[in-house]
């Protein structure tokens, strides 16, 4: 479950979400009729109401979205009826939810995962929406919102880059410098270890954080195009390029925090917050764990160092969240209007006011109230040549959750067995990608 909450900011008490996840699993076991029954709310035939299926179950995003919908009602007179489900449960049930009686508009992720449901005919194209909002978005976001058929299916709202986080005061205290190249980075790790710090904080209990490390090393070493090929199942996992990625990873693995498979990302973030660790590779949502204002101001980040000068630091991993239109919305006209509103700088600004751990997907959004961290994240994305989503958002989720998550956990514990691991991944990949 929560099978692949990967790359997603799902803050808050993981225990509770998990418990609800278990509840969701039970509900799923009870069969399809029950599931579709909890989908639509039934009041949607009313032209003054649009229903929205939401996975924003955590307090901060939930309030942020409620603010947007309240403002929209004031503006248009259309009521937004939100059907919020636990973040992970929403993801687990999305399949049957979209086949049943889904809400008019639903929260989802950009890229491959959006394309998957678009290709299955479970979403309505929204080219007309993009006619009015298109100018608000940079080219990279437009590409992320299109399916393979060239039609638009997605309205992006916010995004967040992955980078290496550190405490400014720690770097100052020991006289560290931000490493620009791989060799500098390895040297810095060694120095930190000598200074009694854990060089790289790491927690992979939820099995997705390790995917972020893999992505960074892979596209720095082999470039964006190879990342796409590999994730789409076209490149082989036994390719020398993949082997190279794992070799580089093996080089820095001794500098990672011990016992990563038993630790959540929240606990790993605490080692950075308590200055026991020097660096931490994660999405900007790591800031949510810095509840102390002074510590938050002390937090900074840099892009993953360059490995191959041919690719430099041109690629940025930036998962993007937004909205899609379900296959047969009951109030299509109202839903289209709502999506047009959600693509405006106004809606973005309202969201960011309540949730400052992410940045706007739109290029016209007002960035004047951004924190220094947000400004830096925004610049990093704006300056990127290509944006990746995340391993499980750029590839088939069934492949990443059933094959890659356990495989990477195995690698972290036993990096020597990488050859047999890679051929096992390749064999499993073939069956999954040829199955459907």
């Amino acid at each position: 479950m929560q099978l692949s909450s990967s790359g997603l900011s799902s803050p808050g008490p993981a225990r509770r979400t998990l418990l609800r996840g278990v509840g969701g699993a039970v509900a799923l076991g009870a069969g399809f009729p029950l599931l579709s029954a909890c989908g639509g709310s039934g009041t949607a035939s009313d032209p003054k109401t649009v229903t929205v299926g939401s996975n924003a179950s955590d307090a901060v995003p939930k309030k942020a979205f409620a603010d947007i919908y309240a403002a929209y009602k004031k503006k248009s007179g259309i009521t937004v009826d939100v059907n919020t489900k636990d973040h992970n449960t929403f993801q687990e049930q999305i399949n049957s939810y979209l086949q049943g009686t889904p809400d008019d508009v639903f929260h989802w992720f950009a890229g491959y995962r959006m394309q998957f449901f678009a290709a299955k005919g479970l979403a309505t194209p929204i080219d007309d929406v993009w006619k009015s909002i298109g100018d608000n978005f940079p080219v990279a976001m437009k590409v992320l919102s299109q399916s393979e058929d060239g039609k638009y299916y997605f309205v992006p709202l916010y995004t967040y880059p992955w980078a290496i986080f550190y405490r400014k005061s720690v770097f100052k205290q020991y006289g560290y410098e931000v490493p620009a190249t791989w060799d500098d980075f390895v040297a810095l790790c060694g120095q930190m270890k000598k200074d009694g710090l854990v060089p790289i904080a790491f927690g992979d209990k939820d099995a997705w954080p390790a995917m972020g490390t893999f992505d960074q090393i892979n596209f720095r070493a082999n470039g964006y195009d190879f990342h796409v090929e590999l994730m789409a199942g076209r490149a082989s996992w036994t390719d020398a390029k993949v082997r190279k990625t794992f070799d580089l990873w093996t080089e820095i693995l001794p500098f990672h925090q011990e016992g990563a498979v038993g630790r959540t990302w929240q606990d790993a973030a605490q080692t950075l917050a308590s200055k026991k660790a020097g660096m931490y590779l994660l999405g900007t949502f790591v800031a949510q764990q810095f509840t102390d204002k002074a510590a938050l101001d002390d937090l900074d980040f840099f892009a993953f160092p360059e490995i191959n000068s041919a690719y430099g630091q041109e690629t940025v991993e930036a998962p993007t969240d937004g909205f899609m239109l379900s296959k047969a919305p009951k109030n299509k006209a109202g839903a289209v209007k709502l999506l047009e509103y959600l693509g405006t700088p106004e809606a973005e600004a309202l969201y960011l006011k309540s949730d400052p751990s992410v940045v706007a997907a739109s290029r016209t959004a007002d960035t004047s109230s951004y924190t220094p961290l947000q400004k830096k994240a925004y610049d990093m994305i704006a300056g990127a040549k290509s944006l990746t989503q995340f391993m499980d958002r750029d590839s088939r989720p069934d492949f990443t959750s059933t094959v890659m998550q356990p495989a990477l956990q195995k690698f972290i514990r036993d990096p020597k067995g990488v050859d047999s691991l890679l051929s096992s991944i390749e064999r499993q990949k073939k069956t999954i990608f040829t199955a459907s």
């Binding site: 479950m1 929560q2 099978l3 692949s4 225990r15 998990l18 418990l19 278990v22 699993a25 799923l28 069969g31 993801q91 687990e92 999305i94 399949n95 049957s96 086949q99 995962r113 998957f116 299955k120 479970l122 854990v198 209990k205 939820d206 099995a207 011990e258 016992g259 990563a260 498979v261 038993g262 630790r263 606990d267 605490q270 080692t271 088939r396 989720p397 069934d398 959750s401 059933t402 356990p406 495989a407 956990q409 195995k410 514990r413 096992s424 064999r427 499993q428 069956t431 999954i432 199955a435 459907s436």
Partner: protein
């Protein structure tokens, strides 16, 4: 064993009398007060007269029919559908995407899935540990508590407390104990520093045993109560007699008490087997079946639940779990039926 035979006929008469009992309107003319009384007492041959009215039949039909339909739809159809799906691939979107692949899923499972054989092994270990640890321990605790020692109620409550909690909650509680950075054990023994670090949750050589401690902790309390109930049923005269014969405490237990606990032992064994086969929630909460704690039930869930599910493949794993369950249950059922037939 003759008792079981009697219960059979007992339920039989129960059924015939129930519709009449639930029917508030007086029975039609043919059935006078006398039939009522007779019906309740011993069965008097009714000759060719119809025992059941139209209404009775309808009630009976509904009472027997509805559960049957529900049972068939929810148990048999789903089970058979899942077996059929094990020979297909299906992503769960629309029925037209179901593709027949024969034995491919099983071939893939047996040869290509690095988690499958560990999962089978862990399920077997789980069963063995639950039989070897909580069963003797539960019996031991029950025997001690049966001696009417002081604060017996307090101990009973303490041992039984984990049983009233769900496994999900137990998973959270034990995570707090096992958390490698801030958990109780590592904080006490100082094993949360680099260099000497014990990763109870992440280390595949440790985590299964860590979870099994939690599982046994709960199961022991459950079995203790079952054994305690069994011991309360032992005739005090037997103890007295063995005391008069000069048997010591161990001899009394071995030769007198333990043999009378036979029915309890059967129940305990069945309960334990069921518990071991359905092991899921504790591990799912603990670490989602990461390396070292893979279980078949978790593999099924991981493959079936999700945004683009491998329903065929997951069903194939479920079929394997079903076969293992049958392999354990069928010998038991055969033995039980054979005993019944003999008596």
């Amino acid at each position: 064993m003759t008792v079981t035979g009697n219960t059979g006929t007992g339920t039989g008469t129960g059924i015939t009398s129930t519709p009449a009992a639930t029917n508030p309107t007086p029975p039609p003319s043919g059935h006078s007060e006398t039939t009522w009384a007779k019906g309740r007492g011993e069965q008097v041959p009714q000759g060719h007269r119809r025992l059941l009215t139209h209404r009775d039949r309808l009630t009976l039909g509904l009472m027997a029919g509805l559960p049957t339909i529900l049972h068939i739809a929810l148990v048999w159809v789903t089970a058979l559908a899942s077996i059929a799906l094990a020979f297909t691939t299906w992503d769960g979107i629309g029925f037209d995407s179901i593709k027949w692949v024969g034995l491919d899923n099983f071939r893939e499972l047996f040869t290509n899935n690095p988690q499958f054989w560990p999962a089978v092994q862990h399920n077997v270990i789980w069963l063995a540990v639950l039989i070897l640890v909580p069963m003797p321990l539960g019996m031991f605790l029950a025997v001690q508590l049966d001696k009417k020692i002081r604060f017996s109620r307090v101990y009973q409550t303490a041992f039984f407390l984990p049983v009233v909690m769900s496994f999900a909650v137990i998973g959270f509680v034990w995570q707090l104990v096992y958390n490698p950075d801030t958990g109780l054990i590592n904080s006490l023994i100082g094993a949360n520093k680099p260099g000497h670090y014990i990763d109870w949750i992440g280390d595949p050589d440790l985590n299964l045993w860590a979870v099994l401690v939690a599982a046994s902790w709960r199961h022991t309390g459950y079995l203790m109560i079952l054994y305690l109930a069994g011991l309360k049923g032992v005739d005090p005269a037997l103890r007295e007699a063995s005391a008069l014969d000069g048997a010591n405490e161990w001899q009394t237990f071995k030769n007198v008490i333990f043999p009378t606990l036979r029915p309890t032992n059967t129940i305990v064994l069945v309960v334990t087997i069921i518990e071991a086969l359905r092991a899921f929630d504790l591990v799912f909460v603990f670490n989602k079946g990461a390396e070292g704690t893979e279980l078949l039930s978790i593999l099924v869930t991981n493959n079936i639940i999700g945004e683009s599910s491998r329903i065929g493949y997951g069903s194939a794993i479920a079929v394997v779990l079903l076969l293992i369950s049958l392999a354990v249950i069928i010998p038991y059922l055969v033995a039980t039926f054979r005993k019944e037939r003999r008596s």
